[in-house]
Structure formats: C-alpha cells, structure tokens
Amino acid sequence: VYTCKFFLEGIEMKRLLVLLGVLLLTGTGLFAAGGQQAGSGTQQAGTGAKTVVHVAHFYDPAAGGGNVASMNWLNKVKDAFEKENPNATIEWEYQQWDQIDVKMISDFRSGITAHDVTFSSPQLFPLHAAVGTFADLSPFVNRDWSPTQIADLSWSSNYQQGLIGGKQIALPLGNHARVLIWNKDLFRAAGLDPNVAPKNIDELIQFAQKANNPSAGIYGFGMPLGPNRATIEISFLTFLWGYGGDCVDPNTKAAVFANDTGVKTAQLLWDMMNTYKIIPPDAVTNTFDIGQYFTAGKVAMAIGWGAYYTNLIQDNGWAKGLLPPQADAQLINVGVALNPTPTNNVFANAWDISIYGKSQNKELAWKFIQDIFKSDLSQYQDAGLPIQKAEWQKPEYQTDYFQTFYKAIQLGKPVPQTPYYGDLADTISAALQTCFQSPRSDIQRILQDAQQQYNSKAR
C-alpha cells in the first residue's frame, strides 16, 4: 500500500482509470486476436482433414544470419513434403537449441504426444535411449533405403552415434569435427615455418612458446577451458584420448578420469595454462570464444576449430573459395592439421533428426525425414560438412582444408557413452577449473574427489 501510494503520488484517479481501461481493452483485444489466429490454424487442419506433422527445430528467423538460411531450407523441405503428401501439413515448433533435447525428454515422460520430428544432439543419445524419447528408425531405414544409400551415410562416426542398443534413434544431417588451425603470420613472426604444423604434443608446446607474446596480447595456443561442456569435448578429451585414456569405464560405466592418464592430461593442461602460460587467461571463463580469438590474431594456434568457423577466416581475407566450397579454394594466412596427439582423435558430432517416441504420425514423420535427405543439404548451414560420402568425391572438397576435416571425421569419436554425460561433463570441467586455481600437486586429489563425487551417486 505504501509503495503504491508513493508511486502513484501526483497521479489523478481519473487518468489512472483511463490508463487501466486502455490496458484492459488492449490486453483483451490482443488475447482474442491471438486465439483467433491459433483457432484458424486448427480449423484449417481440421476441416481440410489434413494430418499435422509437428517438427521441432531451433531456428529463429528473427535472429537473422544462419537462422534465416536454415529456416529457408526447412521451408523448402516442407513445400516438397506437402506437395507429395497433400493430406498432410507441417507445423513448426520452435525450441531453444540447448533445450530441445530436454524438452523432448520431459514431454515424453509427461505423456505428451504432440511432437513428431525433432532435431537432436548426439551427446544426449544415451540419455534419450534410456528414456525412450525417440522411435527406432531401423525398420524405416531398412525398408526404404538401399544398402548403397545406407553406406553413403554410415561411414561417418556420427551415424554410428545414433545407433544405440541396436536401435537407430537418430540420423545425422551433417558432420562436425574439429581440427588444429594456425596463423601463418604469427608463425612467421615467431621464426617458425608457416607451412609446418606441430606433429606431437611436445612440438605443440614448443611452437606455442615461440609464438607466445602476452605483453602484445598474443598467446601461443588457444582452447576452451571454461565452465561449460566445450572444456571436456574440445580440450580434455582430445589429450585424454591422445594418451589412450577415457573418462568412463566401458563395462562398469563408472568414471575413471582420475586415473594416471586423466591426471597426466590435467597436468598437461595445467602446465599449458600456468607453467608455460601459452593459453589466454580468459580461456577459463565462459566468455571465451576460440573463433573470435583466433580471427582477432590473439592466438597463434588453436584446437577445436570447426568448419562452422570457416566464414570467419574467409571474411578476414585469410582464405578464399571455401564458402561455398570451390575446387580452387586457397588458404592464405592459415593452415589446418589434425590434432597433434598420438591418436589424432577428435570429438565429432552433428545435428541429428529423430522421430519422437510418442508420435502419432510416425509414417509421415519418416516421409518428412526422407524429404530432408532428398533435399540439398548443402543449403542447411548448421549441417556442417557433408554427411553423404559421395559428396566428398566432388572436386570442391579435395582441397587441403576440407580433406583435413574429412580425415578428422573418420577419426571422430563421440563423448563418453553414458546417460549421465551432462553430470560427467559438468563434474570434469569444474574439477579442471579448480585444478587451474590450485597448486599442481593438488591435481590428483582434486580429480579423485570429483570422481568420487560423481561415482558416489547411484547410477
């Protein structure tokens, strides 16, 4: 009462009533307009006896850029689908990209049936498999696709990630793999050969130390180490796999990241950060973006370089003919190579497409997915690199840049296959961040505490 009295001091009652009346009329009018709009959509679907296929995606045209291009591509697929299936119509459902999987899981658990097709993330496939969120696509794939068509997709590890417990719960729309990139100008300035990449971890550190010039704001090496999942996916796993280790025991599913290999990996990252000081200090914050840092010329080398950053180097004039890919594409000021670890393994993923487990229109949903694969996937920007092997035979993908990615895709590995991956990733990134702020001698204890905390939970 006091607040209102204070706030309304000096406001005439008549004016207040007029204001409230206007607000009431506006609200009621807009509410009614919204209802009418929604009602007309339903009516159209009802009277026309059209089956509505709900497709969940995360492209907001209002956000511009790649969102518009991806939405245009989706609309083309929709047009083709509706032409082939006059009794069906596509209705888009917008979700946030980092919430679409959780939304599907919670809706599935709540018994909601109002989804048919959805985009999905490979990191969460074991969780989806445990919940049962997605339908098994194997019967559709085996029925409608030839072995040649399947082989054209199944060469990629991303295709295999969707195959869990004998069920194909998702199909990848592209390939995302990561490579090492370096800045030739900064290499030259450091007295390094601009055309030679480090071949192993020791060389990586040596090269980075030579190129390191913190007083000029230039660091030798960049990788994400912030409070997010890029820390485990891009940085920790790259070196852990390189040393022959893994985060989770494949048989017991218990976390094993505090074993000798895990400690060795954490010590390496700690040394890069604190002993050699070759990594920008803000790599540990969640504002760090490797694409932005590299193209600003603030790191000489970086791992975690994905094809989705290609526009950055092309816009910088550091490459030409990469977007769209051309046979005579050139790398001007950058070089790319596989990660310089003993196994060269990288984290690979993709945006996948799945059929919602409780969909009432699975056949139509599958037809829509087929139309996606019939469409020109190169117009789907978020797809990344081609998923169809045949595409890779084209001359425009024979350049060094894309061939490096092609090898990386073949060496690509998924994140540890556990339904608790989110918890695992958060635990490891938090433990690593604690390590960076602690003496080197504490690394083993910090990792063991984190591992014990993760394993203490009934899984």
């Binding site: 445990a130 969640n286 505490d449 014990q452 203490s456």
Partner: protein, 289 residues
C-alpha cells in the same frame, strides 16, 4: 439466495483454487519427489532420505553450494539495504531533482535479469569487454574478474546489488514518505536534531519496511538462478554455484529431478528459516493488525 456471511468465502474461492493448482500441488509433488528415485524410464521407488544423504556425502559440493548461497545473500543485504535506505532518504526530500532520480534509479530494475547479465558478461569479456579493457590499461597483468572464484563471486554480488537496489529503494522511500511531517515538526519543537530525528523517528517508523526489504533481498538471493547461471554458469569450478543454480543444473540440464527436488526442499527450509528470524527479530506485530 446466498447468505451474507458466505459471500467472502465465495469471493476468495477462485484465488484458493488457483493457489492449490499452481502452488500447493507442485510443492507437494516436489516434496514427494525429494524422497523418491526415478529411473530414466520413469520407474519410481521410495528412497526415504536417500537424496539428502547423497547430497551430504558427495564430498563438499553441497556445502559449497550452501556457502555460496549464504555469502551471496549476506553480502547483498549488507550492500543493498544501507545504500537503498540512504538513497531513499535522498529521493524523498522535497526538491525538484527527486522525481527525476526516482525514475533514473528504477532503470536497472526494469531491465530483464538475463539482459542485464549479458550486458555485464560482455563488459567483462577478456577480449573486448569495456571493464576488462579499462583494467588492462590500469594494470596490464590484472586478474580477469570472471577467471577466479572470489572475483567472480564479487561480480555476481555487485550485479545482484545493482539490480535489486532500485526496487528496495522505492519500497523504503514509500515507507519514509508515509511518516507524517507533523511528527518531525513536533520532534524539532522538542529540540531534536537531524540525527536524533533519523534514529528516533525515521528508523523506528520504517522498521517494518526494512524487515520486509531484508526478507525480499534474502529470498531473491536464495532463489537467484537465472542471472548467476547466465553470468558465470556456476564457475570457475563450483566457486559461484549456489543452491538455486544447482537446482537448475540438476533438474533441467542433467534431468536429475529427484536431486533437484531435494535441493528445492533445502532452499525452502532456508527461506523459512530466514523468514522466521526476521519476523521474530525485526517486525512489529501491528503490521498484521
């Protein structure tokens, strides 16, 4: 014909129905979930205090969450209440600038929490952030504010202070302006100076508003997950992970609804504890009369 004495009950019935549907049922469901384990496939089993024991035995993370939550709340109260009270005294003065400042001070409160968080995050970006660039000019080897636990927590507290300060200021100003001028005149006639008026009149007459303000800042602080999550993600490490952020991560990121529910119970108990303490120690009974 409806009896006269039943009319009030009929009038409050819609509100009670809505409260039961949207407040009581979720609270009861959450309470039950805190004592259950639900498999990913949806099979549920009763585990008693298992989820709570799990939190206590996980090796320090839960106690760190508790520590961060309490630090966040206490520091917020210590910053917000004195600053808001002081500013409230200024804007309740009868001068031509008071109205202008009343509007200006409200700006941080009007901006959506996530938007203001993104603004702060951008300003603290180690590469292009305005604050970091200024700090770099002053001290080239300075510490990046979001890269260390203590400084990240400080940023989190200052951001929360900046956001909650205007509303509390307005609330306290409303209380101050409700004190009759005649009381001050009478006090002055009796020889009371400005300080005496402040401590013997203003403060006692606004104790209820102060109590409610402290309670509001406490509850906001305890429940603040969106701005903390957007600003630091709980990091570095778990340095800024309060209970509310942990609830969000457990329930909506990692889909561990039972742990999330158990943490919610802890959060509710904390809120109730603070509420009890404040009501007992600060508020006068006549507020309810």
């Amino acid at each position: 014909m409806i009896e006269r004495r039943t009319v009030p009950y009929i009038m409050v019935l819609p509100a009670i129905v809505l409260l039961v549907i949207f407040l009581m049922i979720p609270i009861v469901t959450g309470f039950i979930m805190a004592f259950q384990h639900t498999s990913f496939a949806g099979e549920t089993s009763f585990v008693g205090f298992g989820n709570f024991i799990q939190l206590l035995s996980e090796g320090g993370r839960f106690f760190n969450n508790l520590r961060v939550s309490l630090t966040y709340v206490c520091c917020n109260i210590l910053l917000v209440i004195p600053m808001s009270y002081g500013t409230a005294l200024l804007i309740t003065r009868k001068n031509r600038f008071a109205r202008f400042f009343r509007s200006i001070y409200l700006l941080p409160w009007i901006i959506a929490p996530v938007v203001s968080t993104m603004m702060v995050r951008t300003m603290l970006n180690g590469d292009v952030g305005l604050i970091e660039l200024i700090l770099k000019k002053i001290a080239p080897d300075h510490l990046l504010l979001l890269s260390r636990g203590n400084t990240a927590l400080l940023v989190m507290i200052l951001h929360s202070f900046w956001r909650s300060f205007p509303y509390i200021m307005l609330f306290l100003a409303a209380g101050i302006s409700s004190i009759s001028d005649e009381l001050y005149e009478a006090a002055r006639v009796d020889g009371a100076g400005k300080l005496r008026c402040f401590f013997s009149l203003t403060v006692p007459m606004t104790l209820n508003q102060l109590g409610i303000s402290i309670l509001m800042v406490t509850i906001w602080g305890l429940q603040d997950s969106e701005s903390v999550y957007a600003l630091t993600g709980g990091g570095p490490g778990y340095a800024t992970e309060n209970i509310a952020v942990r609830v969000f991560k457990a329930s909506f990121v990692n889909f561990d609804l039972n742990t999330g529910a158990a943490l919610c119970i802890v959060l509710i108990l904390l809120c109730l504890l603070f509420m009890f303490l404040y009501f007992k120690s600060l508020m006068r009974g006549d507020i309810y009369e």
